[in-house]
């Protein structure tokens, strides 16, 4: 498979920061909007780097970096309307940002104080899903609900190149197609599923999977925020128009480790990383803004400063993130009372009280 995405790759901004045009997809964008996108990109990268650092310092148990995938996430996230709903994996920190989920909120899961962290309905952003592929069916079900409600909303569903092999993901294609559900499948093909290269999941470009299920697929330069924005917008519009699902393959690269627990040097070569560095999603926007005189030094400095401030706040906030203690275990197993949970909760409380009261039973050791 072509390492550069091949001729089918939709691109509107080259790695060199040049605006190019595409016969099918284009975008009208104001300098202000461009600057806003740049800001998004820089801020989410900064959040991501800070989280990685926090993990190294023992503040987080784990972090799944989005490094390199900022454009894919910001471009697609900014294509959403408020009423749309997004279903992420565990790496969509950039999308979360566009949905108004505070970066600190994302850390709870990785710090181990919660398995969730935000109210999905406050942000139209589902909780992170760790079991690969499961969320794609939720997204389609939600889209089927939209159909029944007759609203003009659409759903976007994130998953990875590795996930494309899961049965559930393919079932979600079947349901979406058969029910013509208003959903955009957004696959971030970052070339790797932990140590498994793309070739382990498919022999052909991933976007073509969609055709086998009867809906269109498109491959977009996932490091080009403009192209991603344009392609995702078009796909969402298609969904709103009742024309059914689209598969968007954002061709990108996981610049970091799979997670902070991973050691990518065991399975991939440095040259690959170097090649992708030249396609950095942020640098090309910066060059484009700077060369075109669309932003000045002050702007860039301000964004930098904002990023720094965000990082400082994140760090401070992270250290304060606390679990709700043992209540976490019992509180929400069920929405309605459940005698076994109540019994075990009472027993646990009595057991803990036995330590505090200085009782010896079980507490003396």
């Amino acid at each position: 498979m072509t390492a550069d995405g091949g001729p089918e790759l939709v691109q509107l901004l080259t790695p060199e920061g040049e605006r190019v045009h595409h016969p099918e997809y284009d975008i009208d964008i104001t300098p202000e909007e461009l600057r806003a996108l740049y800001r998004d990109l820089v801020l989410v990268r900064r959040v991501d780097l800070e989280a990685t650092a926090l993990q190294r310092q023992g503040e987080l148990g784990l972090w799944a970096p989005l490094l390199g995938q900022e454009a894919a996430q910001i471009g697609s996230g900014r294509a959403l309307r408020p009423g749309d709903y997004a279903f992420p994996t565990y790496r969509e920190h950039g999308v979360a940002w566009t949905r108004g989920v505070a970066p600190l909120t994302l850390l709870g899961l990785f710090r181990g104080v919660t398995n969730g962290g935000w109210d999905p309905h406050d942000h139209n952003f589902a909780l992170y899903t760790i079991v690969i592929g499961d969320q794609t069916l939720h997204a389609v079900g939600y889209a089927m609900g939209i159909q029944r409600d007759g609203t003009e909303d659409a759903v976007i569903c994130y998953f990875g190149d590795g996930a494309s092999s899961q049965g559930d993901v393919n079932e979600s294609f079947v349901f979406a197609s058969v029910f013509n559900a208003p959903v955009v499948f957004f696959c971030q093909n970052n070339q790797w599923a932990i140590s498994a290269p793309l070739e382990r999941q498919t022999q052909i470009p991933l976007y073509r999977r969609a055709a086998g299920f009867g809906f269109p697929g498109v491959r977009v330069d996932g490091n080009d925020v403009l192209a991603v924005l344009a392609v995702t917008r078009a796909a969402l519009q298609r969904a709103r128009d009742g024309a059914g699902p689209t598969l968007v393959e954002a061709f990108t690269y996981r610049m970091g480790a799979h997670t902070t627990s991973d050691d990518p040097t065991r399975y991939r070569v440095a040259a690959e990383l170097e090649a992708w560095k030249l396609k950095d999603p942020i640098e090309r926007v910066r060059v484009h803004l700077a060369r075109g005189g669309l932003a000045d030094h002050d702007f860039f400095d301000a964004v930098e400063a904002e990023a720094e401030q965000l990082a400082v706040e994140l760090r401070a906030g992270c250290r304060k993130l606390e679990s709700r203690g043992i209540d976490t275990i019992f509180e929400h197993v069920y929405a309605e009372p459940h005698p076994l949970v109540a019994k075990e909760r009472a027993e646990a409380a009595a057991y803990h009280a036995s330590f505090q009261s200085g009782a010896t039973v079980g507490g003396g050791h």
Partner: protein
């Protein structure tokens, strides 16, 4: 009161739930025009339309997974799994998502999903059509697991399952689908007994029989037969496997001193194991004999010509009773 079969009672219960709450929606294989292979959804698509009675593609994980999304959107999906043996492709979605959603979201996105599963044997079916997988679900925190034993309960319990804010795995004893009972179709759901409470369906003094679903009738028949031997058996219909109403059983065992648990599922790690452990703890000094279990063997469900030897029947229940009494 109307006399009807359990299948019809379930149909009536589903219909009433759909009338009461427009968010209720059915999804499953062949539930539309065909009305399901057991006709439990007969006529519902005609009356409520294809948007509310959804004939799904042939993919159980897809069915449960889309139900999760529908629930997030505010619907109350009622999933039909065609037969017990076909629930496993959906196991990941049930155990990983449906069961854990409320906890993961700290109560923000509950999963009011009902998963209907016709279960159990005794109908001469081919492989995978006669299994009793309830223990897998009862072991899973976050799920409720219930099973009616008769038409009257079926009518109410299916509505209660649908009304529950928690996911309910609803096991329907398929070999009792055609048995009739008086059903109070106008009963107010608010007055119905909790589906999570067991019910003493026959009081007795000598031995307690705890059972559920298809085995309730078998145990009642055994109790009648035992009268000839002068044994007065108390029969408890557990109705719920999670939560398990240990108190009702314990109250009984404190009187009888003996308990036999009966189910079709394999004994090893079946519901009887949990009940035995809990009752032994609750009634340690009352028990005259260990809690005994009569159930399926540690074997895949056998071909149907042999199922009589596999399934607990009146004689095997009485054998258990005799062993408990002989202790």
């Amino acid at each position: 009161m109307v006399v009807m079969t359990m299948a019809k009672a379930l149909n009536a219960g589903l219909r009433r739930a759909m009338e009461t709450d427009p968010a209720v929606l059915l999804i499953g294989e062949d539930i539309g025009k065909l009305g399901g292979v057991f006709r439990v959804t007969d006529g519902l698509q005609k009356d409520f339309g294809e948007a509310r009675v959804v004939d799904a593609p042939l993919a159980e994980s897809g069915i449960v997974g889309t139900a999760v999304g529908l629930a997030m959107r505010g619907y109350r999906p009622v999933v039909e799994i065609q037969f017990d043996g076909f629930v496993f492709p959906a196991f990941d979605q049930i155990v990983t998502q449906v069961a854990k959603f409320n906890a993961r979201s700290e109560g923000r996105t509950p999963m009011p999903i009902t998963i209907r599963i016709p279960y159990g044997g005794g109908i001469g079916a081919v492989e995978h059509h006669s299994e009793s997988p309830e223990a897998y679900f009862a072991h899973t925190a976050g799920l409720r697991v219930i099973s009616p034993s008769n038409a009257a309960d079926a009518y109410l319990m299916v509505q209660q399952a649908i009304a529950s804010a928690d996911p309910v795995v609803f096991f329907e004893p398929k070999r009792r689908y055609w048995e009739k009972a008086d059903v109070d179709v106008d009963a107010d759901l608010a007055d119905a007994p909790s589906p999570y409470r067991a019910r003493v369906v026959r009081p007795g003094q000598h031995v307690t029989l705890a059972c559920y679903g298809p085995m309730v009738r078998t145990c009642l028949e055994a109790a009648t037969a035992a009268e000839h031997d002068g044994h007065d058996l108390e029969v408890i219909d557990l109705r719920s496997m999670s939560p398990l109403d240990v108190d009702t059983v314990a109250e009984s065992v404190r009187r009888t001193g003996r308990l036999v648990v009966v189910h079709e599922a394999p004994v090893f790690l079946g519901m009887g194991a949990e009940l035995a452990a809990r009752i032994t703890e609750a009634c340690f000094y009352s028990l005259q004999a260990p809690v005994l279990r009569v159930g399926g063997y540690h074997s895949p469900y056998p071909p149907s010509k042999v199922e009589e030897d596999y399934l607990p029947d009146l004689d095997r229940v009485l054998d258990g009773v005799d062993r408990a009494l002989a202790w």
